[in-house]
């Protein structure tokens, strides 16, 4: 696979939307302006948990400049129905009341009312005149507390579902998952060495720089048009239609340029509210979240408690694994516990394992996906235990990983076996890297490594390509472009047709024009929408063969298409553009199309190396050098693959060292700002070196694997291992912020 020579794939063209994005011309949702547009403001709960006794909106409604006010009673009743959203499913009643609270508020920031006015300042002032009477309830924000029998209940009717078996009494635990492979109990008895620890991780946020924003225009004919910052226009359309109980076909969602998502811009928050405000006022309405709203009322990713245990033989073979995981779901059921369970041992071929997982509701915003959702937490646990095992066995931390790495045929804890995968190759790349082979010297310094995995999904994508009279192509696809995907998709079409990247004009369509396409998420776009573009190109070639046969007076079967996209038949060879032009002049208009639904995970594996230095007096960690290695299958646009690796890694570094939701005694967030949430600035990280491994994915025409998510998985573990190697202190809690590391080092000194 890797030996194939491509013309376009593997090159680094300037992205198609680049000029717009460096000149300020690119239109993001908050940049759109419609005639007569009003500004919306959402009033949010100041309490972590309370009954809404009454809401009096009269004063707000009477405020000059105010055109509409909505509360929960303006939302239609939706049943307790699960809607399949392409990527996962959602209970519509929960989705609706997360958009606008009904009888209860379940977290600080929960929307209780909204106002549309001629100006956002007027809307805000009016919203503050809405009188909401709350009856404050006991609240809970720590996952183990929420699991206790006497914990305050968020939902009276919620019972634990253990794969269809429902518990009798209500609790805050909607789901219990349990996996078994082999006989773990027996294997632990046979193990020569066992390591076991408990770990905790804090709630963290995706931290996209663009706050959620929407413009809704509810037309008199019942047609609802929405412009929004979403990772998936089709899922946004479906969620909005379901919450509003209007026909899907009445909703048009136009995805604007989107300022980051990382999993956090899949669920709808503002769309239904803006739509109802628009319907009531008869005017288009724009709502943008404040940064505090984004932290308090969008979907961060779960905090967790984990107990993990691994047993190995003296030769280093891991034979037994056990994990007990409890993840925050947030205010409503449906967190990331499934993938957490499935990823805890995903890098190692452990014959006997048992995993229990609990999804836990508590008074935090409903969690949502964040880059390899659920995997970073468990990697923090497992990858540290692997290092501890190695130390106990006197093995090198790389060697033990190489010895136990999963490969083709290894069975996952949840059952399925892996197809060809690239973890061994990534570990080999660690071993051969300049970083690994350069000794780290100096006091208080340490090096750590960790491996990581994310499934990478396929899902549904569509593409259509219209041939222009000069043989260039307009490519219509439905994947919102968060990181250069227009280009990585267009490059695959260019490759198959024998064109250059800039012969293709890619366009991200809205839900009326593009074929159905699932979200930009799950590391799937370059893989699946790229595959759709490839297939659309193939479709075009088929059509052109048939038409060329008429033109050249030969049979279509005699015409072949070469690797360079040229058509050969009837004794001549003609390039794509030339043939397209010829056909156009002959009156033929060409549109190629394809829909794909690849179903095999693309299995992204990676490994990372971190060098750090700890200030022994303050516990502050400085990252000195960092290398991120990942199997991309085949890198279509290496610069943007590197960008995914570097970006995911730095998010992981932030998660590891400083980021956290800090809760006050009243269970409200203390640090809902970029100042105090502390994402890495440019000064907090070094250059991130990358090594792209290309093992080729047999399920993709060019061998692509998804790369977007895996890079965030190893950093907390790699840094924890590095910190241990620098300080002899094992950090089991995220973030490993200076006060916590200092305290841990102090306790260690005292105990020694």
């Amino acid at each position: 696979m890797t030996s194939t020579q491509y013309r376009v794939i593997g090159s680094r063209p300037v992205r198609h939307d680049g000029a717009d994005k460096v000149t300020g011309k690119a239109i993001y949702t908050a940049d759109t302006k419609l005639p007569g547009m009003l500004a919306g403001f959402v009033l949010r709960s100041p309490h972590a948990h309370a009954k809404v006794v009454s809401i009096d909106t009269s004063e707000a409604e009477a405020t000059p400049g105010v055109h509409a006010v909505v509360t929960g009673k303006d939302f239609p009743n939706v049943e307790n129905k699960m809607a399949d959203l392409g990527e996962g499913s959602v209970n519509l009643a929960y989705l609706s009341s997360n958009c606008m609270a009904q009888q209860k508020v379940l977290y600080r920031g929960h929307a209780v009312a909204a106002v549309a006015a001629t100006d956002v300042h007027i809307a805000e002032a009016a919203a503050k005149k809405i009188k909401v009477e709350y009856e404050v309830l006991d609240s809970v924000t720590w996952v183990l507390d929420a699991m206790k029998e006497d914990a305050p209940l968020l939902h009276d009717d919620l019972v634990t579902d253990s794969m269809g078996d429902k518990a009798e009494n209500p609790s805050n635990v909607p789901v219990h998952l349990h996996f078994e492979k082999g006989d773990a109990a027996k294997a632990f008895e046979e193990a020569d060495v066992i390591v076991e620890r408990e770990f905790k991780t804090a709630t963290v946020h995706q931290g996209y720089i663009e706050p959620h924003a929407v413009v809704a225009d509810y037309n008199e004919d019942g047609r609802l048009r929405i412009w929004t910052a979403t990772q998936g226009s089709f899922t946004a359309r479906q969620q909005t239609a379901e919450v509003l109980q209007i026909p899907l076909g009445n909703v048009l969602v136009t995805p604007c340029e989107i300022g980051g998502g990382f999993g956090g811009k899949i669920t709808v928050y503002l769309e239904p509210t803006a739509a109802i405000l628009s319907k009531k006022s008869g005017r288009p309405v724009r709502i943008t979240m404040t940064r505090a709203d984004v932290f308090e009322a969008s979907g961060p990713t779960p905090g967790s408690f984990m107990r993990v245990k691994i047993g190995a033989k003296n030769d280093g073979t891991m034979i037994a694994g056990e994990a007990w995981l409890a993840y925050d779901a947030g205010a409503y059921p449906g967190g990331m516990i499934g993938p957490g369970c499935m990823c805890v041992f995903s890098c190692y071929d452990i014959e006997h394992a048992v995993v229990d997982g609990y999804d836990v509701c508590l008074n935090k915003p409903k969690t949502s996906a964040y880059r390899a959702p659920g995997a970073t937490q468990v990697a923090f646990a497992t990858e540290q235990l692997v290092d501890e095992l190695a130390a106990k066995l006197g093995m090198c931390e790389l060697e033990i990983r190489q010895k136990n790495a999963v490969k083709e045929g290894s069975r996952r804890v949840d059952g399925p076996v892996y197809p060809p995968i690239g973890l061994e190759e990534c570990l080999q790349a660690v071993q051969e890297s300049d970083h690994w082979n350069t000794p780290l010297e100096g006091p208080n310094r340490g090096r750590g490594i960790a491996a990581g995995f994310w499934f990478g999904c396929g899902l549904k994508s569509s593409a259509a390509c219209t041939v222009n009279s000069d043989g260039t192509i307009n490519l219509l696809e439905g994947s919102t472009d968060i990181g250069g995907s227009r280009t990585s998709i267009a490059m695959q079409l260019a490759e198959v047709l024998g064109l250059e990247a800039d012969d293709i004009n890619p366009m991200v369509g809205d839900t009326d024009t593009a074929g159905y396409t699932d979200v930009t998420g799950g590391s799937r776009v370059t893989f699946a929408t790229g595959m759709a573009a490839y297939e659309a190109g193939r479709d075009l070639q088929q059509q052109m063969k048939t038409l060329a046969a008429d033109l050249w007076d030969c049979s279509a079967d005699e015409i072949t298409v070469g690797e360079d996209g040229a058509f050969t038949g009837a004794g001549k060879t003609v390039g794509f553009k030339e043939l397209a032009t010829e056909l156009f002049q002959a009156g033929e208009h060409l549109v190629g199309r394809a829909t794909v639904s690849p179903e095999c995970p693309t299995n992204g594996f990676g490994a990372q190396i971190a060098d750090i230095e700890v200030d022994p007096e303050t516990g502050k960690v400085t990252v000195l050098r960092y290398t991120t290695i990942q199997d991309a299958g085949k890198a279509i646009h290496p610069s943007y693959v590197e960008g995914q690796l570097q970006g995911g890694t730095v998010q992981g570094i932030g998660w590891a060292l400083n980021e956290e939701y800090f809760y006050k005694d009243d269970d409200t967030m203390a640090n809902a700002s970029f100042l105090d949430y502390r994402m890495p600035t440019m000064l907090d990280v070094p250059m991130i070196d990358t090594i792209i491994v290309e093992t080729g994915n047999p399920d993709h025409p060019y061998g692509v694997r998804g790369v977007g998510e895996t890079p965030i998985v190893p950093p907390p573990a790699a840094l924890a291992n590095a910190i241990f190697n620098a300080t002899d202190t094992r950090m089991t809690e995220l973030p490993m912020s200076p006060p916590k590391l200092w305290k841990a080092m102090q306790s260690k000194q005292t105990s020694e």
Partner: protein, 284 residues
Amino acid sequence: MAPQSVSEVVAVLSEHGDRAKLLAGGTDIIVQLREGLREADVVVDIKKIAEVTSFKYCDENGLSLGAAVACYNLYEHPQLSKLYGALADSTHIIGGWQIQSRASVGGNLCNASPAADSIPALIALNATAVIAGPSGERSVAVEEFCTGPGRNVLENGELLVSLQIPAQGANCGSAYERFIPRNEMDIAVVGVGSWVKLADDGTIAEAKIGLGAVAATPLVAEAASASLIGKEPTEETFAAAGELAKQIATPISDMRGTDEYRTHLVGVLVKRTLTTAVERAQSS
């Protein structure tokens, strides 16, 4: 409104009292007004007034720093940044570059955050606040200026006009350092400003240490400062001063750090700033 003279401002402030707020760099006040933390009917832009937007230095009287002078003027100034190391250090880390283009030392002082970066530096440098009001001008030592978190000594009708910072002779050096979890764009967990004057024999002749984020207002570490006098500038001396400084710290535990951690950091930062201050004094 944007008055042209101090007396105009005093008149506006006297008329509107609490409901008038002054705008210099705006990097705190605009956020506070927007978030409803402070309220105002009138916002008075003082950047059209020469006295508050200019600064001058002379060897006799030192630095007269207009209250609205933006941070960058200090750390970019070749002479002042050398003479007033602690002030240059602190102004260079207040927010990012964008903030430093606007934020002023006077505003940082008036905002009276216990964690303000410039205040421990000003305290160490023995700065005095010059205040204008309905009954004329008065001066207050910077360490007396803050009266609580977000509160200061300014009375109705008064404004901070400038800061007077004594001249820096030979053998003087100062430094400010804060601890933050990131490397920029953060609020000090603890901040320490240290100033020393060395005697001809190399011992410490005078010293002053200011502490931030360890109490309701920035503090002078008097015992710690006094402990240095007459001593050789050694690591032990600095560590001992650090221990003394820790004794007056009464920090809170919050999202930025525990009281225990903050108290510990006082010792670390006193030692580090004294080391830098002495190095600067030795090379001045």
